[in-house]
């Protein structure tokens, strides 16, 4: 389980999981779950575009990530963010269908991009994954307070001079970076479950933001490690275990919050 090509899998999956746990905390407290769902799916056709144009896959993913961010941000200025997000998703998925129909990409590769291909990570993939993840994590830590304040209230952030519109755009960029590198590892559909499940569980376990982030990262790592190990042993898909443990963590978190509130009500 820990030999040869599996080492790359463990390293890449750990980086992606830790970043998803960190970025996911702000996805959850800022109510950005829909963007976190739509961005990976909008980015995924980038791989098809790259195959058609014969360029590097990561390049295609990053290009589509940029298109997704620009689309959501530009359309949000004129209307409701969720409509803007949905329109962007539909346009980019439509482009993806076109590129897929023009290429001879195997269905197996598309399947991998949607549901993850943790067992197929090469040594050359580690460096770009690590660099982009570090940039996303660094940006989150730099913007920690403005991200938190505008999550509490946009009006408060504006009055404090924290420019919530700029913070929103910065967060979309962070989300797109984290999604683009997580995508080849855990797949477009499961990036979303790693971003939301652990963070949603963690915010119910503590009233401190810093501790909640640490717990979110820990739960995300445990989810991915358990999923890889069980997938290796059972030959069941990794995605099943990631989704299952994400939902399980969320359920346990809700139970824990309920218990803490009940105990306070009795005290």
């Amino acid at each position: 389980m820990f030999s040869g090509f599996m080492i790359n899998t463990w390293i890449a999956a750990s980086i992606v999981a830790a970043t998803a746990g960190l970025v996911g905390f702000f996805v959850v407290v800022r109510g950005a779950s829909f963007a976190a769902h739509a961005l990976p799916l909008s980015i995924f056709p980038g791989a098809a575009a790259a195959a058609w144009l014969g360029i590097n896959e990561i390049g295609g993913l990053v290009a589509f990530a940029a298109l997704g961010v620009i689309g959501i941000d530009a359309l949000s200025r004129r209307g409701r963010p969720e409509v803007a997000t949905a329109l962007t998703l539909v346009m980019l998925l439509g482009l993806g269908t076109l590129f897929l129909s023009r290429t001879t990409t195997y269905a197996q590769e598309v399947y991998g991009l949607l549901f993850g291909q943790v067992l197929g990570i090469g040594a050359a993939d580690i460096t770009p994954i690590a660099l982009v993840s570090a940039a996303a994590a660094g940006a989150v830590l730099l913007l920690f307070r403005p991200l938190l304040l505008s999550a509490v209230s946009r009006d408060l952030a504006q009055a404090r001079g924290a420019a919530p519109a700029r913070t929103d755009l910065a967060f979309l960029v962070i989300l797109a970076m984290a999604s683009a590198v997580a995508l080849p590892v855990v797949g477009a559909l499961l990036v979303f479950s790693l971003m939301v499940g652990p963070a949603a569980a963690a915010r119910n376990l503590t009233d401190r933001a810093g501790l909640a982030i640490a717990l979110s990262v820990a739960i995300s790592l445990l989810t991915v490690w358990a999923a890889i190990a069980l997938s290796y042993l059972t030959n069941w898909p990794v995605g099943f275990f990631v989704g299952f443990f994400g939902a399980l963590a969320y359920g346990l978190g809700r139970g824990a919050l309920h218990l803490r509130r009940a105990r306070r009500a009795m005290a």
Binding site: L141, R145, L148, V152, D155, L156, A159, R160, T206
Partner: protein, 263 residues
């Protein structure tokens, strides 16, 4: 301390504020009174610099302004303690992680004491009652020690006891720390014991002065542009529109605009 000169604001061709003038002296406690849609929020946002007036000037004397926005809905699932929200008022716009600092903690603790919130400072902010959350919002706005505090409908959606507590807290803070308070409300009743100035908004225009100068039939009739009676009953004041005229706002025509207790 705060001077507004002929402020006019229009959105999409519709006039929101027209030639609004008033001056507040340092330490005064002023109610900004008007019905829903009368431009109270726009006026406060203009003072904050978040809305650019089409005409007129705002002079805050370069003072820092504390602000409590209206209708803040705090997410009950947000993992933040009440004290964290106050700390974000101190430096929530700064980059980087907030490093633990004894001075920062002392400042936040002092503010929590000033708004009488030490008893729930470590609880999750979304779990607090409306009155408790309003105290935290006031602490958030005041933690940088501004000399001017703007509050947008801070008494809306509070139970009667919380209304009295918040009004008395604001009065104490204003008196002890010489803070100028400008507070918007659609009901002036709870503010009468503490308010030394009033700015009354209707039809985008304003009148200002003491309560005795402004809350009078002749003055309000001129402001609204139709006949208004200020009726004193059982030590209270009802501000009532005569009704029946063309172009009257239905709400104002049919109902007392304000029920006001005179002291």
């Amino acid at each position: 301390m705060l001077t507004l000169s002929s402020i006019s604001v229009a959105f999409a061709g519709r006039t929101i504020l027209h030639n609004v003038d008033f001056t507040l002296a340092q330490g005064s406690f002023c109610g900004l009174i008007g019905s829903n849609g009368s431009g109270k929020t726009t006026l406060l946002r203009t003072i904050l610099g978040l809305v650019k007036p089409d005409r007129g000037t705002v002079d805050t004397g370069g003072h820092e302004i504390g602000y409590v926005p209206q209708k803040i809905q705090l997410d009950p699932f947000m993992p933040l303690r009440a004290r964290d929200v106050v700390a974000l008022g101190l430096d929530g716009n700064r980059f980087g992680l907030p490093l633990p600092s004894a001075a920062r903690r002392r400042t936040v603790d002092a503010m929590l004491t000033a708004v009488d919130a030490t008893g729930f400072a470590d609880r999750r902010v979304g779990d607090l009652s409306g009155g408790q959350q309003q105290r935290i919002m006031i602490a958030h706005a005041l933690v940088r020690r501004p000399k001017l505090l703007l509050l947008d409908e801070p008494l809306a959606n509070l139970d009667l006891r919380s209304v009295a507590e918040v009004v008395s807290l604001l009065h104490t803070l204003s008196f002890e720390q010489r803070i100028t308070v400008l507070l918007s409300a659609h009901d002036m009743n709870p503010l009468l014991p503490v308010m030394d100035r009033i700015v009354y908004l209707a039809n985008g225009s304003s009148v200002s002065g003491t309560v005795g100068e402004v809350v009078r039939g002749a003055v309000l009739s001129r402001l609204y542009g139709y006949h208004i009676d200020v009726i004193r009953v059982h030590g209270r004041v009802l501000v009532v529109a005569a009704g029946g005229e063309d172009g009257l706002d239905a709400d104002i025509a049919c109902e007392p605009v304000h029920v006001t207790q005179i002291r």
